[in-house]
Amino acid sequence: MTQPVLKLAKVIVDFSGFKAINQLDFSVQPNRVHFVIGPNGAGKTTLLDVICGKTRATQGNIQLHGKRELSKMSENQIVHQGIARKFQAPSIFPQLKVIENLEIAMKQKKGLFSILRAKWTKQEKDKIEEMLNLIGLEKVRNELAGSLAHGQKQWLEIAMVLIQEPDIILLDEPIAGMSKKERDKTGELITQIAKERAVLIVEHDMDFVKEYADVVTVMHEGQLLFEGSMEQVQNNSKVREVYLGRKVESDVVNTGS
């Protein structure tokens, strides 16, 4: 097996008595589209939170490339280690133009004095151009990001995550509220992204998971229930049991099979 990009060992997240994540061992392999599914309250979003530093682990280790320990770093330091996160609600900057959103997101030194002295380089311009083409927003580059359609905002945010050139991308329900066409485009985008890095996605839409997943992890009550391909997940009795207890979501799983 190759060295995992990210490895969580015995991580506990304790919200004053309630263990949102309980003794979780979890790892992400490079160049994979890795989905995390599970019933509500399974700890999926908390998992992303704890990786990117939004929530602190009460116990346990989170290691990047098997050496750098993330659990003690601040959010902005973690970003510079190569982890980028896209949140559930589109959180672009509505008062900035599309291109300006990318400009501040771009991988660069982000300390005060570096930014004060920042000047456009050819490389930076090319990179932003490339990103605009990838997400198909080259024509609206000078529009305020707040005026974009919902799907376009989501892509802009994915681009803002990508342009940080991370080793791992964390996506929280990237296709929520999207039309069929927008979903397909997002799926393609994710496949393309995963060629160079690992993508970790929390998603509820089982059809989407089935179509694009390399690996699927099922979480339940803060622990890892099962990990494997979508097919293995669907045929696993433990998984069925957990989902059957919740009628609506078990239907979703079954429609996939």
Binding site: K54, V79, F87, S91, F93, Q95, I104, A105, K110, A118
Partner: protein
């Protein structure tokens, strides 16, 4: 279109600058002195806009930074006026020799430097502690107001050091020239215009660059910026410190032209008024707050001269009207008007192309 917009802004700025430079030809000495005072306020408003309009940090305590600059200059002028003797109020309070903290202010260069550095240092200290601990929004605003209360009380209480409630006044010379002569007042006016132009242009360069976009990012989504790899507290501390330094400069220019500084001019009410200048002129535009500061203060003077009994009501009414009808301030009115004109142009060109297609 973008170049045209820039061009327009540049024209507005140039016109204002030329008007200000030629103002001495049209205005009496008294009016010129008033305008100079308003421009000192305008300098402060630029710094406050950088902090509130761009970074989203509302400080209701900028009066104190203004005051610290003003007092630094006033202390020098006072010592210069007494010719190295003990200032009168100190003698009345029973002091026999110059207190230690007054000694550096004998030297004009040191006094000017301290007039910038002291407000900056206090802002840095307060900003560093609060922003690092992620205290923001209303909580920071309350803290900034508490700072005013504490320092003003201190200024009033330490009568033997600061002149108490009556403040510092009766200045005579600066660098050996009389402060009150029309000629030196003219020079102070031009210095104020010059400083205003320099600060305006430098802030504009800051804001138009990548730095300005990062500030807007912090204003609209501080947490999001953390996950893009920025540390917002460093930026906020920097901008707070910078705007305090600018307020200090404004205070020094104010004292030179007005000839008095007292605790009532730097307390809570003036601090809130400063925020009103920015709001009235238009947040996040830099030029708006300049217009706002001059406009509000000119209105204040005008009302109080013509209607000495009712002027405070007029002023209050004006604030209410602007807040209700012009939420984006005076500059908001201009942009609205510009947009409407542009729309008219667009529809006109559509009609032209329609009539062509009919042919």
């Amino acid at each position: 279109m973008i170049s045209q917009k820039l061009f327009n802004n540049r024209i507005i700025f140039s016109v204002i600058l030329i008007l200000l430079l030629f103002a001495p030809l049209f205005l009496t000495d008294f009016r010129l002195n008033l305008l100079g005072k308003f421009l000192a306020f305008a300098i402060l408003a630029i710094g406050l806009d950088l902090l509130w309009g761009y970074t989203g940090v509302l400080s209701l305590g900028h009066g104190i930074f203004f005051g610290l600059g003003a007092y630094a200059m006033a202390m020098y002028l006072k010592l210069e006026a007494t010719g190295g003797q003990l200032p009168d109020f100190m003698a009345w309070s029973g002091m026999s020799e110059l207190p230690l903290i007054w000694i550096p202010f004998q030297y004009p260069i040191v006094a000017i430097a301290l007039g910038i550095l002291i407000p900056a240092a206090i802002a840095f200290f307060l900003g560093y502690l609060t922003f690092r601990n992620r205290i923001s929004g209303v909580y920071f605003t309350i803290l900034s107001q508490a700072l005013v209360l504490v320092l003003v009380t201190l200024f009033v209480g330490a009568q033997n050091l600061t002149g108490g409630t009556s403040g510092l006044t009766n200045f005579k010379t600066l660098f050996g020239y009389s402060v009150n002569s029309p000629a030196s007042q003219m020079v102070f006016y031009f210095i104020t215009v010059g400083v205003l132009a320099i600060i305006f242009i430098s802030c504009r360069i800051l804001v138009k660059g990548r730095f300005g976009k990062v500030l807007v990012g912090i204003r609209d989504g501080e947490n999001r910026m953390r996950f893009l790899g920025y540390n917002p507290s460093t930026y906020k501390t920097f901008v707070y410190t910078l705007s305090a330094a600018i307020a200090g400069i404004a205070g020094m220019l104010f004292v030179l032209q007005v000839g008095i500084i007292s605790p009532t001019m730097i307390g809570i009410i003036p601090s809130i008024e400063m925020v009103l200048w920015v709001a009235l002129g238009g947040r996040g535009t830099l030029i708006g707050p300049v217009i706002g500061a001059v406009f509000v203060n000119a209105a204040k003077t005008g009302f109080s001269e013509s209607y000495p009994e009712f002027w405070t009501y007029f002023l209050g009414l004006m604030f209410v009207l602007v807040v209700v009808f012009l939420p984006k301030g005076i500059t908001g009115l201009f942009t609205k008007w510009k947009e409407r004109r542009q729309k008219q142009n667009d529809t006109a060109s559509i009609e032209v192309s329609k009539s062509y297609s009919r042919l």
